[in-house]
């Protein structure tokens, strides 16, 4: 199982979702990716994208400046 990181800081919706989608397409079921964003919209969009596509949000950490959303890749 791999654990990767994606820097989506300063990107506005829907770029964090597109970058996550493209990265996940190259990963395997069970792998985890931490997406680091600054657009608060990602708090809504990445989970919505994950639900539609069968992935799981396993953690979300929000600070004043950044949001890190951890996604486990679905089958």
């Amino acid at each position: 199982m791999s654990h990767e990181q994606l820097d989506a800081r300063r990107m506005l919706c829907p770029m964090p979702v597109i970058k996550t989608q493209n990265k996940v397409a190259m990963m395997h079921a069970g792998d985890v990716i931490d997406v680091i964003c600054t657009d608060p919209g990602a708090l809504n969009d990445i989970p919505a994208w994950a639900r539609i596509n069968g992935h799981e949000i396993i953690n979300t950490v929000q600070t004043d400046d950044e949001i890190t959303i951890s996604v486990r890749v679905g089958a």
Binding site: R10, L12, C13, P40, G41, A48, I52, N53
Partner: protein, 350 residues
Amino acid sequence: MARQHKAVALISGGLDSMLAVRVLQEQGIEVEGINFYTGFCVEGHTHAIRNHDKDKQKRNNALWVAEQLDIKLHIVDVIEEYKDVLLNPKHGYGANMNPCLDCKIFMVGKAVEWVKEHHQDGFDFIVTGEVIGQRPMSQRKKTMPIISEESGADDLLLRPLCAKNLPETLPEREGWVDREKLYDFSGRNRKPQIALAKSFGLNDFATPAGGCCFLTDKNYSDKLVDLWKARNSREYEMDDIMLLKVGRHIRPDSGFKLIIARDAGESKFLEGYRKQFPSIYALSHSGPMALVDGNFNEEHYALAAGIVARFGQGRNADEVELDINIPEQGHQQIKTTPLAADDVLQEWYV
């Protein structure tokens, strides 16, 4: 056993594409969505940069629609390819810099490519939520066949909301879709769509005023044209088109332009660009972050600082100290008198 036919639908996030998918789902057709990101798409998030828009829904409508319809959505970055559509539209522009007809042809063409790539997964045809007469440039009786032909979709392009006003398509002729259960909507009246939405139990849907693209907006288009004129080139990068959505744009000199934040939300957003663009902000008083785009040198500093000071809390002070940062060169402090309101000329505003 007959093969299950599937469709890919262009999902904008608005009501029409949502209904088009729902109509086919009623016929048992499996649909997946595709959404193209050009960089000019109007998104709640872009508006949400500003403080007073913070309460607006921060959702991507295309994703939201896909979730309501229980379909997969493929979001495709077409920023680079879209440049040619914007810069060289065969069918010209609409009221502003919006190449709507070429844009639709491009997007349907991209969907054609996607269907070809995924034919082995059962995808056979393309669906849009187009309605004849709905849009003055791209959705007219005359333009419907142009989109089908020039995109390469031909009779694989089905528009369920107005199909009965158009010639039969392959999915209808082959019986994959029952034409009788499609619709004959036309014109700008939204009542039939709203009634159909209600019949499906859909009560929440996006109704973006002026469409879903910044290029239909006069102010945005004016800023884009100004940028091209100032650079003597129509090339643009993603950061350029993002920054046109934010702040006051003031061009006091043909060589440079100031982008001045209108509130704390925009200041925070512009701060993210300080490594790429020269920036100015007040040290002695509260005030907005400003970026400088263009050929900016020391002879411009006093004028630029005076304008930025004008938009901060020190606007009435005798003197304001500001920091000017030039990437890879460093910071410089400057003291200046803020420009009087009348000295910020109206023609400087882009």
